[in-house]
């Protein structure tokens, strides 16, 4: 059954505009309106998901087909990612239902939903300027999210994170916009497929300049090294949900935008596949640096933040290998990360909720005794993130290794192995703290909603881990989209 994918954007907007009204007339309800919006998105996504198996789901707005109007082209890749994003957002929001009153819950929930909307918009739109608009939405929602401090943080406002992100996000937006302007100026169109079609005739200098600006801009959004200096600041002081969103939604949207623009649009315009190579090594460096930094951090929020950075690098590297197995691996890694990271953030947020300031590793100590369900869920999350079979990450790493091997990228493989060892190092430390029962800890009940969401994600990890086969059809489309842009071009013309 096909539903117009534009509803993925419209429904949350309706919800967003309803929030102020509701907060006037039914104050209690206001903070759950965004949840309804998200559920609406999820329903639409669920209805459309089946169609992704046959290719992109498309729609036009304003009554004009592409390139005159703005078209929505939900490619299977975008659809898969959007599904994951909605899932993460739902995870974050539902987990907070525990009957406790929290400050700024309404704003927080609204921003969670809006960040998700923007991210979903970025991945499903077929128009490059529309992508920028959604980038703006995401970025602004991100700033507000970053500003909302986590429970128990002494300061009233996570000023540092918000300011840094606002500043850098502004720069990023500007650069992306400049890049879009260049592309539009050179090709006289804004539709991504049409730009891709015409890029061959464009002067390489323009393409290079566009790549440079877009790379910096979107690289900042997707936390690539060395453009990710803002990320730890954001992760450190904000709520666990914000962390999940930055790693699972906002960054992922930036990542897809970067990949799509670099692979589909710009790569044919430059020589020697240089775009792929740059991304590959930037990704590898990001992975190494991210994991190393996570390994040497003490504060759990930072550890997970750096870890997310590392994973972004891994994803970029694996997609940029430009072979089928690399993309397959990247997709699985993406799913694995989207499923595992929120679990870790959530359980860590639970375990460290009473800590003022930094949350040291030791706050996980004895979690398996004090709250067995949290301990088990977190353990599975950790193992899934390292890549224990059966987990999506395992398949991802397997395909990545075999792809890197088949391309003869030995340096990459060494970086991957070293990075994996670092990753294992800090995740292992978490594990040992969870299972360290030497010191008695007071019993601590995991709120029901949080437990249910955690269990649900664990279930998905196992589901995809055991039966990754059904995803293959979608992954075939992902490969088609990224390896051979012409496929994407043909999808664009409705």
């Amino acid at each position: 059954m096909t539903v117009d994918p534009v509803l993925l954007i419209v429904i949350p907007l309706v919800a967003a505009f309803l929030v102020p009204i509701t907060s006037i007339f039914m104050k209690g309800l206001a903070k759950w309106i965004p949840l309804l919006g998200l559920i609406g998105m999820a329903v639409v996504m669920a209805l459309d998901f089946g169609d992704l198996y046959d290719g992109p789901v498309t729609s036009i707005t304003g009554g004009f087909g592409p390139p005159w109007g703005i078209s929505i082209i939900m490619t299977p890749f975008g659809g898969l990612l959007a599904t994951g994003m909605i899932g993460v957002a739902l995870f974050v929001m539902i987990s907070e239902i525990d009957g406790k009153k929290r400050a700024h819950q309404t704003v927080y929930n609204t921003m969670v939903m809006m960040a998700t909307t923007g991210a979903v918009g970025m991945v499903i739109t077929g128009d490059i300027f529309n992508m920028f608009v959604f980038l703006e939405i995401t970025a602004i929602a991100g700033v507000v999210l970053a500003a909302i401090p986590r429970d128990g943080h002494e300061k009233g406002l996570n000023w540092r994170g918000a300011a840094v992100y606002a500043l850098v996000g502004g720069v990023a937006s500007f650069l992306v916009l400049a890049g879009i302007a260049l592309l539009y100026g050179a090709t006289s169109t804004l539709n991504i497929y049409q730009i891709a079609e015409r890029i061959e005739g464009v002067d390489t200098f323009v393409v290079g300049a566009a790549f440079l600006t877009m790379f910096i801009g979107l690289g900042i959004e997707s936390e690539l090294f060395p453009l990710n200096g803002w990320a730890p600041e954001v992760y450190r002081g904000s709520k666990w949900g914000t962390g999940s969103l930055f790693s699972g939604v906002i960054g992922k949207a930036g990542l897809l935008a970067l990949l799509r623009i670099s692979f589909v649009v710009l790569s044919p315009g430059l020589e020697n596949g240089i775009v792929m190579d740059i991304l590959l090594w930037v990704g590898a460096a990001t992975y190494l640096f991210g994991e190393a930094a996570a390994f040497s951090s003490k504060d759990l929020y930072r550890v997970l933040g750096y870890s997310s950075i590392g994973v972004f690098g891994l994803l970029v590297a694996s997609f940029s290998l430009g072979v089928a197995d690399g993309i397959r691996g990247g997709t699985m890694l993406l799913l694995g990360h989207m499923l595992a990271k929120p679990i870790l953030f959530s359980m860590m947020g639970f375990a460290g909720r009473k800590k003022k300031g930094d949350v040291p590793l030791s706050s996980l100590k004895g979690l398996i005794r004090s709250s067995p369900s949290a301990g088990i869920i977190m353990t599975i999350g950790i193992l899934a993130l390292i890549g224990m079979p059966p987990s999506p990450t395992f398949w991802g790493k397997y395909f990545l290794f075999s792809a890197a091997g088949s391309e003869g990228q030995w340096l990459l493989i060494s970086i991957l192995i070293i990075g994996t060892l670092f990753e294992a190092g800090y995740l292992g430390r978490m594990l040992f703290n969870i299972f360290d029962t030497r010191k008695e800890r007071k019993a601590d009940t995991l709120p029901l909603a949080r437990g249910i969401m955690g269990a649900l994600f664990v279930f998905f990890i196992f589901l995809i881990g055991f039966l990754p086969g059904p995803l293959e059809d979608i992954i075939t489309f992902v490969i088609a989209e990224l390896i051979d842009p012409l496929n994407y071009i043909s999808w664009g013309s409705i």
């Binding site: 400049a178 260049l182 049409q194 002067d203």
Partner: protein
Amino acid sequence: MMERSTIQRSLPALAISILIAGTLFLAFVEIGFGENKVDSEDAVANRYIANGTTETGSSNLVTSVVVNYRGFDTLGEVTVLFLAATGVGAMINLLPEDGKKRSKGPKPSLIMTQGGMLAIPVIALFGTYVFLHGHLSPGGGFQGGVIIATAFLLYLIAKPDAKTSHRTLSLSESLAGLSFIGIGLIGLAVSGIFLDNVIEGFGVLGELVSGGLLPLIYIAIGIKVGSEMSGLVEKMRGDAS
């Protein structure tokens, strides 16, 4: 010390600026700005210029692009504004208590108070005019909304202690946003295309009631932007102490 530190901080920023500016300049020179790089048939702009009025029923070409061809972007921009307003409000709320207090400025002069009171209705009327005629003449919802917000700003300057209704502002803002989406959904319901200008024939070109749904959208945008900017100004004022 202070000097050096400032230079230290500015230097990379300067370098980046020069680098980016230089690259962009060279690139835009390379493109040949404003020239047709492709066959005129395929360039989006050419099509807008050629068919804009007939396809959208708006005699203002900018409006036809902003509200119809790329109406979805506009919805997005409205949302950006909405988020920015909400976000600023939230962040002000998050500030520590002493940061939220309204600072006492000098009292406005008589001229300010009286002149302001005179000017406000006129400005508001002008704003309304601008967004009502968005599909006919230059201007539109955004501009009109901002003009209205200046009237509100002037009011607050003239009467710093005036009580304002936060509720009304959010209500109008929300309702305007919802009506924008509602108009879009009409298109979805009728022709299956979001934001489709479904009214047959769009009316007579150049008349006030023309352009199909475009004026309605611009009205919604005008109200929304107006109340949003006003709300923003109002929030910036801080809490009464």
